[in-house]
Amino acid sequence: MAEEEKYELRLYVAGQTPKSILAIKNITKYCKEHLDGQYSLEVIDLLKNPQLAEGDQIFAIPTLVRKVPEPIRKIIGDLSNEERVLVGLDIRTL
């Protein structure tokens, strides 16, 4: 397990769509299981803050952005495939 590395994650959604709810559920679960205490997760609703979409180059919804550690990684979709999410975020499973 990564020692002092901290994960800074952002999940972009647009309202309470089934896909968004599923993505929030999925990522919360993965984080608890694999990154307990070493992550921050921010959920951004673009319907409320549309101006934030440009900064992180968001075009698909939902999109999970790993801001830290660099380089930036993006995972788009409802995050239903755990293995791909973990590989995508470069989280080494135990």
Binding site: E54, I61, I75, I76
Partner: protein, 509 residues
Amino acid sequence: MQCHSMQKIAFFITICHIEKEKNFGIMKSNKEYIFPKTRTGIDGLDEITGGGFPTGRPTLICGSAGCGKTLLAMQFLVKGIMEDNEPGVFMNFEESAKDLSQNVKSLGFDLDKLIAQKKLRIDHVRIEQSEIEETGEYDLEGLFIRLNYAIDTIGAKRVVLDTIESLFGGLSDQRILRAELRRLFQWLKDKGVTAIITGERGEKSLTRQGLEEYVSDCVILLDFRVIDQIATRRLRIVKYRGSTHGSNEYPFLIDEDGISVLPITSLKLEHSVSADIISTGLPALDKLFKGKGIFRGSSTLITGSAGTAKTILASYFALSSCRRRERVLYFSFEESPAQLIRNMKSLDINLEPYVKSKLLHIHSSRPSLQGLEMHLLVLHKLIKEFKPLTVIVDPISSLVTVGSSSEVRAMLVRLMDILKGNGITALFTSLNNGSRNEMADLTEDAISSLADTWIKLRNEELDSGRMRGLLVVKSRGMGHSNEVNDFIITDKGIEILNANKADKIHADK
């Protein structure tokens, strides 16, 4: 039977659809219907499309790389802002905003200024395949939100998506993409913005990803070809639903003012005509015509082999127009302005003061520099800018070396159309026979039937020396001398020797 009734139903649905669509436009009366259109800001394109792109609908512009899609789209936005006060959003999937801004700076488009004035917004959607992973269901709502935000912040009426097909390179789920694109185009319509979507030319379809399936209102194809080492750009309207449009290929030009399209061949002959008579600049020549000159707005062709004084007659013509304080545009394809002025001075034809007072503009260029269409476009642009009442092309036959016979004919007709349409009196010179150039004779063929007045010049070698002759072959709507008139060239200019005799032999009419 069943099949038949199905067709009927389909037909009925179509009618309903048309009826529904009509509600978006203005019904002038039961039959007359004006399809709402948005000016394109591109010279000539409005004429071809009958007023511009469909308002509140997407238009697809497709073409291969480097054919001018981005430029056309940008010009549409910038001109929309400057001329129609319609703010615009440029959503860009390829170049960054900075690159884009630099690329169009040479055309005098100051994007940064327009952005600062909140008239323009550029949103660069960067899709980096290497940093993206896809898992599970998603949609492109993020793109919609961005676009919506950009449109609403500046109150945009025009939108460009350049090139949305990049999405296909960055994302792997084609099924989602296609469904979302369909939704996007519908969304644009619902939003009521006039949009341009650009697409890369595909091998079998108009665009690589078949965007034409989604954008069905207006599709324009740009093309870039090299024929005989001369590059020509062409534009064609593939379809324009609910509107009439020109269906030919139209040449277009990209220069320091952006894109201009040459609308051509309004085949109707409905130019207004003038009964006004103007001088050819040479009183003795005027006398050969019953009306003591030629009609204003008519076209005159002077043919002759090398050294028969075609350019001299053309210069007289220019001079007479200048004396009437009417602007003259002189296209010289063989001599530079300075050379022309010097040579004419030796014959007591002084053009210089008029060049200085800007009544006379001499435009010299090498015929082989550009293709025929480009010459025509340059001619067209200069005519538009300079607004001359007289145009001289000296010689028109040298243009002919750069095109095929059918092109030449088409170009001459177009040129004639432009000139007549603007009520311009025109004079063309054409080099013939002596050159043994088949193409040159072709010009004579093509243009002599179009020209209203035809003057033939010739040189005859006699024992005693050279005899110069001038014959008026035709002059529409006016009687003229039927005699070959001898003339000489002195340092006072052209002197017609038996002009007095001509008075008696006025033509049949």
